[in-house]
Structure formats: C-alpha cells, structure tokens
Symmetry: C2
Subunit: 238 residues, 2 copies
DNA sequence: GCTAATACCTGATTTGAATCACAGCTTTCT
DNA sequence: AGAAAGCTGTGATTCAAATCAGGTATTAGC
C-alpha cells in the first residue's frame, strides 16, 4: 500500500483535510471529493487571479503564501488579505458570475487545490451541513474584515502599526525565547500599503518601537515581539 | 378578505417578501415562515443590540434606519454599517455562540422582524436553496466591506468624502431635478467618525465641494448631488 | 414662544505624516 | 563573483489635517 498512487492520493487528501469546511463529511465523502480536486503550482511573483478575470473555482492554499490586492486610483497597491496554508478564497463568486475584484499573487512558491463551482455546488446541495459550515466561515471572514476596517478608521498611526504586528504575530509568528518571531510575508512597502501609510513612516515607527523595546529586528524579514502587552496597549485592546 | 387579521398577516409577509434571502421559497413555505416571525419596535436612540450581548435572531429592518458601531480605544464611535429598510444582519452569529461585536442603535423610529437562530437553522437544513442564497448574500456583504476597507486605505481625504457622498446617494438618495437628494441618516460627527477624520475637516470638505459646485446643501439634513461625475473622479472610480 | 442644549461652521495655530533626497544594504541575474 | 536593480533607513522640508477657539444656527424641552 505504499505505491506511488496511494501516496499521491494521500497528498490530495491533505487539501480538504485541512479546511474546516469539510470537517463534517465522512471519510467516504471526503475521498469522493478529493478525487474531484485539481492541483496547480505557482512561482513567487506569479498571479493566481487577476482583477476582472473569471472565477470558476474555490481555491485552497496547500503550501505557501499569497496576497490579495487591488490598485487604488493613485496607482498604489492596496492589500486586502494575506492567505497562507489552509486558507481558502473565491467563495464570494460561487453563486454569481461576477468577475474577480482583486488580484492574487504568490509571495512564495505556492501549491493550490481547486474545486470547481459546479462541484462545490453539488456538495452544498447534498450536504446541508457543509453549507452551514461555509456560512459560518463566511461569518468569520466578515468579522475579521470588520476589525480590519475599524483599525483603518483609527487615526493614530502607532495603533495601526501595533495592530498589524500583533496580527502578524498571531498568523505568522512562531514562539521563541524572548518572544514570538514573525517571518514577514511582505516588504515594508507592502505593509505600509496595507495600512495606508507611507513606507518611510512605517520604517520610522518600527525604529521607534525597537528603541522602546517593543520589538527587535532580527533581520530584514524577521521581527521579534518583545513586549506584547505594550503593543496591545498601543493597539488599544481592552 | 379585508378583515384586520388578514391585514396583519399581509403586514407580516412584508418582512420576508422584502428580503432576497427567501425569494426562492414558494408562497406556501413563505407563509409558514411568516408565522414564526416576531416583531419589535424601537424609538430613535434606543439600542437594538449592545456589544457583548447575545444574538439569538436574524434581524430584518422593516422600517427606519439603524447604525451599527463600536467604540475605539480613544472613545470615538466607529460606525461599521448603516442599515435601512430590507437590510438584515446578525447572520454571522447564526452558527456560533459568539457575542455581538457591535452596538446597533435606532436612528429613527424602527420596526424590525426577528427570526430565531433555531428557526432559521431548520429552514436552511430543509431548503438548501435558501442556504445558497444566504451564502451569496454574505458574499455581497464581504465585497461591500472590501470596498469600504479599501476606501479607508486611501490617504486622500477628498476621495473618501466623495466616496461617502456617492454611497449615500446610492443608498439614501431620491431623484430630483438638479440631482439626487440625500437625506443624511447621521450627523456630521457621525460621518466624520465613519471616515475616521475630524468633524471640522468634514465640514470644510463639504463647504469646498459646495463652492466647487459638486454638491448643494439644501438644509442641514439634506444634500443635493449636483455633479456626480466630478465626485466620481475625486472618488477615483475608473 | 422662550431657553437651554446641541449641532454646525469658520478662522488661527500646531502637529505629525507625506514627500523629497540620498546613502547603505540586499537580492537577483548573468 | 560582480554589476544592476530593488529595498530599506534617516534627515530636511512641506503640507494637510488635527486641534483649539469662538461664534452662529438648529433642535429639543419646558
């Protein structure tokens, strides 16, 4: 049972095993769906989706990181989401023929799993509990977006930078003595664009935070959170 | 058939007839659900929901306007949504026991229709097409939130104010000779808070827009859009 | 109808982020 | 390995929005 076929099969399973969406399905149903799933790979910098393109599938990130973004009228890149292993997207287009409203670009080599609209549609009609799970996941996405929206509305830039660092620590941080280490998925410019501030302002804030002992710059792509509580205070968490 | 009972019955129907969510249901099913619906009224200024409270029902606005908001750590009120007739909310809590993440306050006398979680749950399990409709509505909400998020990320304040005016014209505007008339649902302070800018800055922007002939202040609560295209240019629509 | 309280506008000043400019440092590509 | 292109950090300057302050309209309550 260690034949290559079987291994490939295991590999396919990984995608849907990782997505809470399908957690309610029996192993049998899971295998059925696993067979329908397509796989694709992308190099760093490649576009998975471009704004205005059609969306035919639900996309699950199997490996790597991607950013979803649009361009503002000023030509700046506005990042909307960072997705990594286990995240999925494309749900909002499942029951509409709307065009993609953002670009999605690989930040590293990426492997994705695809489930076409019509296939998922069938699953939802025959498994109402999956539909309910999806509704609940969408609710989470909305709540997350509401938080992001609110933190954008905060005028105080220190608070926004602190919020971003804490979010990153949560999503990309690994525990280490001295505090969680964040492997930054995007450049300073990317972070600044996400926050809607200038690149230089972000640099200065990070320097200041480091002077104040809140964070420690390990190397350009790695930041260590030294004082989570103070960051939390700045971010304005109650 | 003009008995009071029947009229009350019609009145109840209105709620769910107005929500696209139930559009796929047969008249028979619709009547069934209509019977389950509860009604409540609120005076201007009353809270429908407070942050941290439990959410037991889907809420449909039958009449009036409400604002959903949180308080920032600086004590400022951050408005997340304005809902009016036909809008519904509370979906994100349907399948979780999470507490409400925002307050909802009546901006005018308000009538709402309530459908409890468990009732809606039953509907979703027996009517997969309603579930699909709900997923699609949630997708729309997400898309709307993404737009709001992006416009918050725009540094240019003129663009943000212009975007708000166009959104309001769309949602609250009535056509009139000379341009759509907007009945403002919230005060200047509310608008400023929604945009994350100072009240004074908003006043100045509105004055400037009026000087430039883009809008016309009819009275304090009414603004007429005179030059939609120029507003669109400012907002950065392509 | 009058008073009080609230919302609104506008000017003067301050403040903090954007912009400009440039040098040091990385990564990439050949 | 070496050159070129792309990132990043920091100072100097500019500029736009926040804040402070005062006066005027509008609404709410008696």
């Amino acid at each position: 049972m260690d034949s290559p076929q079987n291994c490939r099969h295991c590999d396919r399973n990984l995608c849907i095993h990782r997505v809470p969406l399908f957690s309610s399905l029996s192993e049998e149903n899971l295998l059925q769906i696993a067979g329908l799933i397509q796989h694709k790979s992308f190099e760093k910098g490649e576009l998975l989706i471009s704004e205005g393109g059609s969306m035919e599938s639900l996309i699950i990130i199997h490996q790597g990181r991607v950013k979803a973004f649009r361009y503002t009228s000023a030509g700046r890149e506005q990042i909307l989401y960072l997705f990594s292993e286990g995240d999925f997207f494309g749900e909002q287009y499942l029951f509409s023929n709307l065009r993609a409203t953002y670009n999605v670009e690989a930040l590293s080599p990426v492997k994705i799993c695809l489930l076409t609209k019509s296939q998922l549609h069938k699953v939802l009609l025959t498994h109402p509990d999956v539909a309910i799970k999806l509704i609940s996941e969408l609710g989470k996405r909305i709540a997350q977006m509401e938080n992001a929206f609110q933190s954008m509305g905060i005028r105080d830039v220190d608070a926004r930078v602190a919020t971003l660092l804490l979010d990153f620590a949560e999503k990309f941080g690994v525990d280490a003595p001295g505090g969680p280490l964040i492997t930054l998925p995007i450049s300073r410019e990317g972070m600044a664009n996400y926050l809607g501030i200038a690149r230089e302002t972000l640099s200065r804030k990070l320097s200041k935070f480091e002077d104040d002992g809140l964070i420690q710059s390990v190397d350009l792509k790695t930041i260590q959170v030294r004082d989570r509580d103070s960051l939390g205070d700045l971010a304005g968490l109650e």
